[in-house]
Subunit: 372 residues, 2 copies
DNA sequence: ATGAAAGCGCTAACAA
DNA sequence: TTGTTAGCGCTTTCAT
């Protein structure tokens, strides 16, 4: 008896009942493949075949299903799709945080991805302060295998390479591991920066380095020391401090540097953010940049041009680095044979935060016209 | 008989066989929950409970499972997790493309998300040229319901609001629908820009508008006309052209504008990118900005300060808009009662692309010092 | 040419 | 306290 009742309640799968059609019509919810199937009067398997362009579906059926798809506005769920197929045509860019550096890379990658058939998914672990190390590993574990077909990781500390999953690192914290890598010539850039300050006549030059565990930071400091040595200028170790690469972390060491009785006449900051921080600190101490202190940065993030005075800095081709990273990733996935280490050049960008030392005699320019 | 054979081949679920342990040890692949379960000698259900902090697991078990998790470096798959639980603690930001405008919003959102417990996932449809309309609908359909708990959509044309899924629009193309919205005071900003040009003495002022189907473009043009009318200056309709909001789309109309026999002495471009485009076109025609032509933009993307001459523009607090959008979304999800329409103020940023008209007599400043 | 059924990695009833 | 079971929405054999 009870068996009979059960059968009455269950809709036999062979009968796409009238009730289904009613449901299919009024559907304010997310429309899923089963909705398409029901409305088109076919199975989900058939819809899947149509969606993925598989063979073995009658032309008429394809037609009808596609009709329903566009009518219902169906779009496959990325989550479900990837869980099953392990192929999504989505590439990931994993960052700790969306700040000037990573967003410039993003712009470059975004341009490059056009026409490749991939879409871009940028994922921020939300770990701005670098408090929890291993964000790159966690983000990767969370997204790889499902969701994305490959990843660009920005300034990772460590990345164990999973098999069957392609990863390229941009500006990794440790030196070239086996990982495909894009970076810029940090060493040469640092030499460039230091030589510029030297050429302006500075001799007491300070350096605000990044954390010593970062490869780029190490290289920039090494470049600084090399240029100083080549110029025969001794480095005063009290003028070399760890500034980290963030605005907040640079404040204290910058203050210490500028509080020294014989403070430096110029500072080479490890990156633009710490340079900007240094300028802020200087201003707070009543020092004028560049009159009392020359400051040079590194990176050339857009923000460096927006501060007052505009920051003289070393430019890395950030957008191009993002583009190259994306291209490398695409090639890797496609199995293209190519070199997997790309180093891009750096260049000096002179703006207004540096001045010769000692300062030239200040001429008072007679102002003949004062615009309203 | 055959039944007996079947039973022999199937591993009884009550016996986590020795074979499993071997597999569990050497595992270079992505580690999944079942691996953790096997290694810890519990069921996946128990692991799930531990991962999600559910009650009803012995302290000792929790301990052991957590041990294994960190030892194996297990991280839940976003795809699988969201497919099942419909709750991911990930918020999406949907953009057509990662360009200066959207990346500024991203920076603001990224700062705001810290401490909310959410992570950020920015998704680019890859539709830069605006070729395929409806990218926002497609991206949303692809990610909502799974993967993300809510979304911020940047400059959407249309968005049908799904039930049970929160969406906030930033600078939507159409006027305020029912959708929660963040935008800036486009009208007031346009008045500001126009008044500035008028105050410099300009009367023949051109306007390069956005596409008329965009609300922000309409408002900016309306503000322009209002300011002109209030100043009693007639708008020459030949000086008003559709520039679109992109560098490429602005080139032709800018050229037309500047080729006019009585070309404008100043141009108010609908946004920074078209202003930059206008400056390029002017340069190509041998016109000097600001000497022969004043140009003012709108948005204040970082790039506007990087061009030569630096662009005078109207600033929208882009990062703050991103932050407000994110906060609104979080509140919406949390069910907080609050206003769902936020309009932020615009401001004039004077840089170097505008000059009084007619130009003041050019005084030749005697250069007494020329720095090397 | 089409559909039934299994299963991707996970969560949530419910049983034990 | 723990495990069994049934799916989430999709793809993919394998029958039919």
């Amino acid at each position: 008896m009870s068996i009979v009742i059960d059968i009455v309640f269950e809709t036999p799968p062979t009968l796409p009942a009238a009730a289904s059609i009613i449901i299919g019509v009024a559907f304010p919810q997310r429309v899923k493949m089963s909705d398409v199937a029901r409305t088109a009067g076919v199975s989900v398997a058939t819809v899947s075949k149509v969606v993925n362009g598989r063979y073995g579906v009658a032309a008429a059926t394809v037609e009808r299903v596609q009709q329903v798809i566009s009518q219902l506005g169906y779009e496959a769920s990325l989550g479900a799709q990837s869980l099953r197929s392990h192929r999504t045509n989505v590439l990931g860019i994993l960052v700790a945080e969306f700040e000037p550096f990573s967003t410039e890379l993003l712009k470059g990658a975004s341009k490059e991805v056009a026409g490749t058939g991939y879409q871009l998914l940028a994922y921020s672990s939300g770990d701005g302060g670098g408090t929890s190390i291993g964000w790159e590993r966690r983000s990767l574990a969370r997204l790889s295998g499902t969701l994305i077909d490959g990843a660009v990781i920005v300034t990772p500390t460590v990345v164990e390479t999973k098999q069957d999953f392609h990863v390229v690192a941009v500006d990794p914290h440790t030196g070239p591991s086996g990982l495909p890598t894009i970076d810029s010539d940090n060493f040469a850039g640092a030499v460039l920066a230091t030589n510029y300050l030297l050429s302006l006549g500075h001799r007491r030059i300070g350096h605000l380095s990044g954390r010593p565990d970062l490869e780029s930071a190490r290289l920039r400091e090494a470049g600084f020391r090399k240029a100083m040595a080549d110029a025969g200028v001794a480095v005063d170790e009290r003028l070399v401090r760890v500034g980290g690469f963030r605005v907040e972390s640079a404040e204290a060491p910058a203050f210490e540097l500028l509080s020294l009785p014989d403070r430096p006449t110029a500072v080479f900051a490890g990156n633009d953010l710490s340079a900007i921080s240094t300028m802020d600190v200087a201003r707070g101490m009543g020092l004028s940049v560049p009159d009392d202190l020359s400051v040079i940065g590194f990176d050339n993030v857009p923000e460096s041009a927006l501060v007052n005075p505009p920051l003289t800095t070393i430019t890395q081709p950030l957008q191009r680095m993002g583009a190259e990273a994306l291209r490398l990733l695409v090639d890797l996935i496609a199995g293209v044979e190519r070199s997997t280490h790309i180093r891009l050049p750096t260049e000096l960008v002179v703006r207004s935060s540096c001045r010769p030392f000692p300062p030239p005699p200040r001429a008072s320019l007679p102002l003949t016209v004062r615009p309203t």
